[in-house]
Symmetry: C2
Subunit: 334 residues, 2 copies
């Protein structure tokens, strides 16, 4: 019997905003599992802003996804067939099997996951997975927060930003979010415990930010780039640090935003570092442990936005790029 | 007898380009030297780009110079009268006595200088002084050069840039200068030993830079900011470092240049750090020793542009901001 598989392929490289038509959904036969391989039934697919960069042919911080091939992405699932002695049927695994229901793997790129009551498998794509580790690395290693400092984070209700602010609080810092709309701001303050949150869709971002960060900004964890970053630059304190994690405001832009306040980097002796967390594997183990502990104790809260069914992945991805999600955006495949 | 003193005061805060009329030259009586003080006869006044920032009321990386007061600046001179047991008449000292022939000091801000055949006093304002140490700190500590990497430095024929490129060569790097005009470029390559130099006043800066740095740019030591920085950003390698030292292209601008290629910081996982060397005093001793040794052995070459007489300091300062000097700009006071 040959297993049927649903896959989402990259059909076109978008110019400007991604369209659903840039993807193509197909049903295919799974090849047989060969010696040394396993077959994984994916339970969740992760949707992340970095994927927009992979859709371009131009240089980004990772290789492009290939036209006509399965779109790349992180997954959690369970082994349903194993010809690799390292894996048993029913083992839960984290992988990078892409936008498809089933994936075949040699096992090299799979990581076995513990089965825990407190930490569901989906969390390994979010709060204790790549986005959470991104927050941990950027804040702790690049930001180096000190008690009493003010930490501002953009996309504060998202998978990365929500962890940044809560970690900042745990370090004794004032945590200020920037998010789009009152619902997200309320979530960030009331549920995640940030000290304040500024709605960037409101008027007078600069004034609102100055009120939320009256002592100035010591660390700005940037997920968005563009005009919000430019506004933050005017309110930095001396020796501010900027972990530069993402530029979601620019990913679908055909003309780049032109930065006005670059002078702040010298005036305030700022340190900025662009990073991609997969290039810092040496600290994944420590970060995962610390994040898992905080989730288990309830100190680190998170939410998930879950699209049902792989056929809704393209719309959910576009929605995430437009900021329609709250917390980690996932697709539940079955 | 009261000693006559010539002083240059800050008369106006410039808007845009500095004018000679922003300074006022006066002759005054020196107050008597009190117990614990010394009188210094300044031999050389240092002229440095950072002084332009001090002329503004707005926030820079240091306090503003005061209107109607002596313009600030570094000096070397000799003690001509001492009521402080730590100093003898004829001692040579480095100080920050400003744009004046004579200065009175408690001695706290003075540093005694060795009298050496190989290193003249004026060099303590340049190659083995603040500019040289700026080059050393930015390149060695922030840039962290590795053999085989390409180091690009702007204002390459200036007091800081000329040291950056020579230090880069001593670290086994390819050193590429950016300077204004063929004379400066010839000096940088033929006399200082850079591998290449690009004339930013020529057409096609990007193409010329790509030819001079065919392997891409690993370290960009930036003294100028603006469009040159923006052009360099397009040619950075992954994990490039940018010691951000100055922005001379912007100091007299009334509207800031708007940066187009900010995305390179994330795409290439760049680390940028703005710095001011006087905030890193812990490494001055090591830097001075290393630079002095390289000057003594002839491995580190330098030139000085010397204006004769304090009354020519304003014109020399404006000339330096326009790039008319080669190497360290000084004023010889007597």
């Amino acid at each position: 019997m040959s297993q049927k598989n649903v896959q989402v392929l990259l059909a076109n490289r978008p110019h400007g905003w991604v369209q659903e038509s840039d993807f193509r959904i197909i049903e295919s036969d799974l090849p047989a599992v060969r010696e040394g391989e396993v077959l994984v039934k994916n339970q969740y697919l992760s949707l992340d802003p970095y994927m927009r960069g992979r859709m371009n042919a131009s240089k980004s911080y990772a290789a492009s996804a290939e036209l006509g091939q399965v779109m790349v992405g992180g997954t959690v699932g369970v082994i349903v067939e194993s010809k690799n002695p390292a894996f048993q049927v029913d083992d839960a695994v984290l992988g990078y099997l892409g936008w498809q229901q089933y994936g075949i793997s040699s096992g090299k790129d799979l990581q076995k996951l513990p089965k825990s009551e407190q930490i569901p498998l989906s969390a390994y794509l979010g709060v204790v997975g790549m986005p959470g580790i991104t927050a941990w690395f950027g804040l702790m290693r690049i930001g180096q927060p000190k008690p009493g400092e003010t930490v501002v984070v953009s996309a504060a209700s998202g998978a990365v930003g929500s962890v940044v602010g809560q970690l900042a609080r745990s370090q004794g810092c004032r945590a200020v979010g920037i998010a789009g709309g009152q619902t997200k701001c309320d979530y960030v303050v009331q549920e995640l415990g940030f000290d304040a949150c500024v709605d960037y869709k409101g008027d007078h971002l600069a004034e609102a930010l100055a009120m939320a960060a009256p002592q100035g900004i010591d660390i700005y964890f940037d997920n968005v780039g563009g005009e919000i970053l430019d506004t933050v630059l005017e309110q930095l304190n001396a020796f501010a640090r900027i972990p530069l994690c993402g530029r979601i405001s620019q990913y679908n832009a055909t003309e780049p935003y032109r930065m006005r306040n670059f002078g702040s980097f010298l005036t305030n002796r700022v340190t900025l570092q662009g990073f991609i967390v997969s290039e810092h594997l040496e600290m994944w183990s420590q970060a995962t442990q610390e994040l898992s502990k905080l989730v288990t104790t309830g100190e680190l809260k998170y939410r998930e936005s879950v699209a049902q069914g792989l056929e809704h992945a393209p719309a959910a991805f576009i929605g995430m790029l437009k900021g329609e999600n709250l917390g980690k955006q996932l697709v539940k495949l079955f």
